[in-house]
């Protein structure tokens, strides 16, 4: 009998993933990342990257404006907090729906073109949203300050249920469970697991197969009489909805929405996360998101004195030089590291970290198979699938 309708290796992958998310604090504490704010970010960007990967990884359409959906999700969620209730459920659902609605509208136009034109169209739409959020839409977005909660917001549903108003700003919650701290992380973590499961199902479905066919040769698919538009549009909308969901989560953990979330550098960051982990693989994007957020956190905290300490084993003169050189890459200069990392990955490891892992695994396997009997074919197949 098939459990959750997925096969054996996928089940293993899912179990490992769930364990990794649930044990997140235990895994991250020894390497200095064991606090809830950071882990919440891991989970949220993991969700975002999974969504982006459904579009870019499967269909090969490189969207350079995906952060727009994240921003839209955030704004929607904060408005839901202001108007309806501080419970995160309506906010997250509305954020997802809004992300989907905008993705439908933008995708309908942008997907008429492919390749570089698609990238530029999505970039144009994202920049439009960003510029509008900053200027004309200030009544909705609160412009540069960003949208914030107020004490006197309507909160209709909370009012119906007789939630008492206090002098302090209300905080977000899930039926009494606070969205900050560890409980917040576990809410995000559960959403991450659900998103991962959805992505797994899409990857293994005939629909996912179709998307991959679009990536490998769209022309041939058209010649065989398949209309590819509905498939790409569906992928774009799903991916936009997940981006909206990530935006909603972001607002749920920290009820604040600003236009800078939609800027195209933010879109570039999500592309980087996906590429770094491995576009088109299941777990790659989540790993990429985690790695980037982790190093952002670690590297940004470094300064000259810490570096001097790190290089204290070197002779005095070298120590200063090394600290100055590496000082370029840490703290304020974190973006430099990010850019350099981006280039290195694209140049040397276009398949991302997952490809690197697979290469190493293959190397080990080849070495062991040259000494012993060749590895049985089914096992190799399964591992390739798991790595996907």
């Amino acid at each position: 009998m098939k459990w959750l309708n997925i096969d054996k290796s996928d089940r293993l992958l899912l179990i490992v993933f769930v364990l990794a998310v649930l044990l997140g604090p235990v895994i991250m504490t020894p390497i200095g990342g064991g606090y809830p704010d950071l882990l919440q970010k891991f989970a949220i960007f993991g969700v975002f990257a999974i969504g982006f990967n459904i579009l870019f990884g499967l269909t090969g359409y490189l969207s350079f404006g995906h952060a727009a959906f994240l921003g839209i999700g955030s704004y929607t969620a904060v408005w839901a907090f202001k108007l309806l209730t501080m419970n995160v459920v309506p906010a997250i659902i509305l954020a997802t729906v809004m992300g989907g609605v905008f993705a439908l509208a933008i995708g309908f136009v942008a997907l008429r073109r492919s390749g570089i034109y698609f990238s530029i169209l999505t970039l144009a739409f994202a920049q439009m949203s960003y510029n509008l959020a900053y200027s004309v839409l200030t009544p909705i977005t609160n412009g540069e300050t960003g949208l914030q909660l107020r004490q006197h917001d309507a909160r209709v549903i909370d009012g119906l249920f007789g939630v008492e108003r206090t002098d302090a700003l209300p905080t977000t919650e899930l039926f009494g469970l606070s969205m900050s701290g560890w409980s917040g992380y576990y809410v995000c973590g559960v959403v991450l697991i659900i998103t991962f499961f959805i992505s797994l199902r899409i990857f293994r479905s005939p629909f996912g197969m179709m998307l991959r066919a679009i990536k490998s040769n769209q022309n041939r698919l058209s010649y065989t009489g398949v209309n590819t538009r509905p498939y790409t549009l569906a992928a774009f909308v799903i991916s936009g909805m997940i981006a909206g969901l990530a935006g909603g989560l972001m607002a749920a953990t920290d009820p604040l929405a600003g236009a800078e979330r939609m800027q195209w550098t933010a879109s570039g960051e999500i592309v980087l996360m996906t590429i770094l982990g491995g576009a088109g693989t299941l777990v790659g994007p989540v790993i990429g998101a985690g790695v980037i957020k982790y190093f952002e956190n670690i590297f940004s905290a470094f300064n000259h004195d810490i570096l001097l300490n790190v290089f204290s084993f070197l002779p005095e003169a070298l120590q200063q030089a090394a600290a100055t050189f590496f000082g370029l890459f840490v703290g304020e200069g974190w973006h430099l590291t990010l850019g350099a990392l981006f280039m290195l990955i694209v140049i040397f490891l276009p398949g991302g970290l997952m490809e690197g892992v697979n290469r190493i695994l293959n190397m080990i396997r080849r070495r062991s198979s040259s000494s012993g009997p060749p590895a049985p074919a089914p096992a190799a197949d399964a591992s390739v699938k798991a790595g996907e």
Partner: protein, 342 residues
Amino acid sequence: MDALVLQILNGLDKGAAYALIALGLTLVFGTLGVVNFAHGALFMLGAFCAVSVKALLTLEHVALDPEKLTAWGTPMEIRTPYIESWFGDFGATLIDYSVPVSILLAIPVMLILGIIMERGLIRHFYKRPHADQILVTFGLAIVVQEIVKAQFGANPIPQPAPDIFAGSADIGLLIGFAENAIVYPWWRIIYLIFSAAILGAVFAFLKYTTFGMVVRAGMADRETVGLLGIDIDRRFTIVFGLATVVAGVAGVMYTPILSPDYHMGMDFLVLSFVVVVVGGMGSLGGAVAAGFLLGILQSFASMNEVNSILPGIDQIIIYLIAVVVLLVRPRGLMGRKGVMED
């Protein structure tokens, strides 16, 4: 009427910058088939050539003058740039003209940078998918931008135009409007003339020289030109260098109009890409025409009259036009069939 003319003029100088950047982008598209997201960073590097030259020229030495006293009663510090004490008035003029002088530095620097970039990086990406090209040049743009930020700081560094161009010209008087109806800064006029000259030179180079002919042939059919025994790769490297120089000098001359900061390249890049797409991928004339067109439209959209009817239109007009053009004329205004369509 005079308001319209003024808006056209205002749009022209921005359009000139778009056109120069878009020209380089298109050259690189057309010849190498590479989508260069780092082109805006090259524009920015050009601008920072001007900043460096200015900083070098104004290196000062400090002398204490015991005759004069400051308000606190200490001897006054007299700061004179070295260049002024060495060359006297000529030195002072040189400092005044630091922006045009920077072009002399920018041309070789940008050419070398361009050639290194093509040989060292871009060359390995000819056969990779466009997505990879976009990503690697995007990464490079971030790296360049952050290095400049580490070196020069995050704040814009104003660069004055030479004194005699600092004022404004009363253009309206020349073409029959009332006095002071159309006032336009001298430096922008210089910038327009300069960009027209550069655009003309690039077109003439491609149209009337043998080298240009080979390059155009290579744009049309690279393989055949290679089969004829011409080393097309080497020429394309030089074209890349040329595009870099155009972006660089455009950046140098733009500094008095917009104080350079480290992210100006990114701001211009996004718009220039839109310009290239509107003009038609691979069409040099289209890129230039679209650059000026979008610059002027943008300046019209920022008029108060227009903004009161359609609030916010000035923020999005360029993107809106790009969307409409791509949907109505997918190849852009002057795009050719078969260029960058896969």
